[in-house]
């Protein structure tokens, strides 16, 4: 059996899974220290379905703790950014474009040094160890406790980042963790560097939290290995999580989508999460969310994290409904939000909300139905058709092909949706959707990824593609996947304009089931899958 835990800002959910079957599911309040909330949740889980600690094969945790720390600009370490690339890159130093408040919160300092590579692997300039030592001295004097290192084209050649890290550690000591950009992001220096600085600022917090998580699990007598879920829906072990807290940033929506999908039995589907104010639509392909292709700004910092592609439309259970007298009705985008249970008609309020219309149509039985009995039937139909059309349109936008796509509806507002979308197919409504995040964490797999620019010689395309695929598979296995279950789940090949030699960027992701017995030996420490497409070797 497995335990999945979702530590959100408000609630800590926990589920006990036997295979993909939910045996028990609970909700507890998230605690300030994170760990006591988990202990409470585990206690409730046992009350609901007692289990022997040694029957637990693995514990998976998804958490928004680290992204919240960044957004709140609290609990962050004094951080320095060292960029290797001089004489190139000086036009835009590290931390450019960051919100001033955040730069202050991390006491951010940027340093430029020689190093870096060209797109084809040649050196821009050699690394200068004396220069790095001098900078290390300045860092120490400034009270820096965590360092981010980036080097130009480190996704092509990571040697300089590694060499600089050795020098920095020798100068600053083992207590100052070093985060390397080639492990964190992909091509696009500023965005990758930004993500690395964020990671560095979270390292000491991660150390404390991860230790606490391990202790709270061990305190329950559970000896099974502990994993955290990453942005892309795959797992990392706790040692990796200590070093790459930033890899947890988008695990919330990812786990929610994957949890909903497994509950419905679909692996390629659209997931519509209807909340109080918005409906959020994401698409899963072979069980994994499609990633956004645009740069994503987190707390005002531009990064190139792999975030799930989510389209939000302003329709939720609390959306205000207007347009009585013969006019075409409108729904949202404004909403009564959390005040739904006071302001909606069925709860005795004055506001006509989407929930009232769902009750009037008999799709749900909540509140006082007589309060909406007077609504005209044609009006009710028109409003619900409007909702159906708008949400179906959002799903259609997210489709990647003209193939029919099953729709899985979750969230409290999913009562607004019809049983079938015209042109799309039936709407599936799984049980237990309120703990979809924890389930998504519990079912996570292990992945390996390649994202590199390859020069493809004439006639060599197939060989290069095979090499990239094999590399991704090897990485997944190295990260703890059972080799018998590993398969390629994503492959993308884009020729790069204006570059010679048929330069082509290949992105390839392989995923497999966690090999439980191997995980037990902790063999995977230090060989994580690379965060959001780490590509160095």
């Amino acid at each position: 059996m497995r335990i999945g835990i979702d530590v959100g800002g408000t609630n800590t959910d926990a589920v006990l899974l036997n295979g993909n079957t939910v045996v028990a599911a609970v909700k507890a309040a998230t605690s300030e220290d994170v760990t006591s909330g988990i202990v409470t949740a585990l206690g409730q889980l046992r009350q609901q379905h007692d289990f022997a600690p040694d029957h637990i094969d693995a514990v998976m945790i998804g958490t928004t703790h680290f992204i919240n720390a960044l957004v709140e600009a609290s609990r962050l370490a004094p951080t320095a950014a060292l960029r290797l690339g001089l004489p190139a890159t000086a036009a835009l130093p590290p931390l450019v474009g960051w919100p001033e408040r955040l730069v202050q919160a991390i006491n951010g300092r940027g340093f430029l040094a020689h190093g870096g590579h060209e797109f084809d692997g040649r050196e821009i300039s050699p690394l200068d160890p004396d220069e790095i030592r001098r900078i290390a001295g300045e860092m120490a004097a400034a009270g820096v406790t965590s360092v981010a290192v980036s080097s130009v084209f480190s996704p092509v050649n990571s040697d300089f980042e590694r060499a600089a890290a050795e020098i920095l550690t020798a100068e600053l000591g083992d207590d100052v963790p070093i985060s390397l950009s080639h492990q964190i992001g992909r091509i696009g220096l500023l965005e990758r560097e930004n993500a690395t600085i964020i990671n560095a600022a979270l390292r000491h917090l991660a150390e404390g939290i991860v230790t606490g998580l391990s202790a709270s699990i061990a305190g329950e007598g559970i000896a099974a290995p502990l994993f955290l879920s990453q942005n892309d829906g795959t797992l990392m072990d706790v040692e990796f999580a200590r070093r790459y807290p930033v890899a947890t940033f988008a695990s919330g929506p990812t786990n929610s989508m994957r949890g909903a999908a497994v509950l419905s039995g679909e692996t390629t589907c659209a997931v519509v999460d209807v909340g109080g104010t918005t409906s959020d639509v994401g698409v899963l392909t072979a069980g994994f969310p499609r990633e956004a292709t645009v740069e994503v700004s987190v707390a005002g910092v531009r990064t190139n994290f792999r975030m799930p592609d989510v389209l939000s439309v302003g329709i939720g259970g609390g959306s205000r409904v207007r347009g009585h007298d013969g006019r075409a009705p409108t729904v949202g985008p404004d909403s009564v939000g959390y005040r739904l249970t006071q302001q909606a008609r069925v709860f005795g309020g004055d506001e006509l909300t989407a929930t009232d219309l769902a009750v009037a149509a008999g799709r749900a039985d909540i509140g006082d139905r007589s309060q909406v009995a007077g609504l005209e039937k044609s009006f009710v139909t028109a409003v619900l058709d409007r909702i159906s059309t708008d949400v179906a349109d959002a799903v259609d936008r997210m489709r990647m092909s003209d193939e029919p796509l099953p729709v899985v509806a979750v969230g409290g507002g999913s009562i607004l949706l019809p049983d079938e979308f015209p042109g799309l197919g039936p709407v599936l409504r799984p049980e237990n959707f309120s703990v979809a995040n924890a389930i998504g964490a519990a079912i996570a797999q292990v992945g390996g990824e390649v994202d590199r620019v390859f020069a493809i010689a004439p006639g060599q395309r197939d060989a290069v593609v095979d090499e990239a695929r094999q590399d991704a598979v090897d990485r997944a296995v190295a990260a703890g996947a059972d080799p018998r279950t590993v398969s390629i789940v994503d492959f993308d090949e884009v020729p790069i304009p204006y570059l010679p030699g048929n330069a082509t960027r290949i992105r390839c992701k392989a995923v497999g089931d966690l090999q439980i017995d191997r995980a037990d030996t902790r063999a995977l420490a230090g060989n994580g899958p690379g965060v959001g497409g780490g590509v160095g070797r």
Binding site: I67, G85, P87, A88, T89, A90, A91, L92, V96, G97, G116, E118, F119, D120, R122, I124, S125, V152, F153, I187, G188, L189, L190, A250, T293, V294, E295, V296, S297, V298, G300, R302, M307, R397, M398, R399, M400, S401, D402, I456, R461, V494, P495, I496, P497, Y498, L499, P500, G501, N502, T504, R505
Partner: protein
Amino acid sequence: MSHNETTEDKIIEDEITEDEVTEDDVELIAKGAAVLGAGGGGDPYIGMLMAQQTLRARGPVPLVHPRDLSDDAVVFPVAMMGAPTVMVEKLPTTEQFAEAITALSRYVGKRVTHVACAEAGGINSTIPVIAAAELGLPLVDGDLMGRAFPELQMVLPTLAGIAGTPMSIADEKGNTGILSSVDNPWSERMARALTIEMGCSAIISNFVMDGATFRAASVPGTLGVCRQLGRAIVQARSAHRSAVDAVVDVLNGRLVYTGKVTDVARRTATGFARGTATVAPLTGQGDTLTLEFQNEHLLAARQHSGGQHIEVSTPDLIIVLDAETGDPITTEALRFGQRVSVLGAPCDERWHTEAGVALVGPRYFGYDSDPVRAVRQQQEMVG
């Protein structure tokens, strides 16, 4: 989590001075330049950041319309050459921009009075802003193409018989080169080879002209058009009007098609992002639109039961915008499912001459077609 914050609100409020480029203008110019990029020219984001950084330190750059240039002004165009994909990784040095100009100035023995833009489409719209600020010189409001094209010789001065060399090329390490070529296509070949050796990102300066010549061989006002486009998009959005319509208005163009991208077939071919995209109706049946691209969009053809009908082709501009936000979509970023509006807009009239069509018309890029204009001309409509 949110998408990038912008200074959009602030920009709408501010009075904009038309005879200088300020830090706030740069964001608008970059947005508009992505429209004139016609799918290519590179994402102006990095250029925008660098220009903002430079202007913050050095203050606004004076902007001079070509009609106000004195005949004996000495104008140096400047541009980035190479792969935009490389430029987002190997960022330039600030000195590089000025160095390309000073190296050429030393060689030709002329003192620079004005910096100019070679290509108003894409990242090269903001590069001359940085160079002008670094050198403390005014910038000319005009460029040599009026859009983006992929090769060095594809500029109006080539049509006017002006030599593309001597030309300078500068990398971030301090290397500079001076080229002299027998014709303008040769300057492209040699500069391309050097750019690759320099790590696929270099700054060039060429087509040095006096004021009178520049006035005759450039497209006037194009940086202003970029700023106007950027502002139109921002204002339309904040007023909940159609940003697509706003772009059509500014460019006197035509909305050719609105639909959903249903296929993007890319082909690997040296140095170019070649391919064909298909756009289909949002609802139900109807004609589809195919877009042929090689870095830039070059041909848009309506496909119907009776065959195909070319709607617009190079040298006119084919612009693909997000149908809702009006944000330009580069050919690299095209993907299935996007809702797009495809616009045609007239290029500078000189591109429609026989020599212009030979240089940048459909046949140069391998499409067996005469050029098709975005908007029918006045006399045709009357006659």
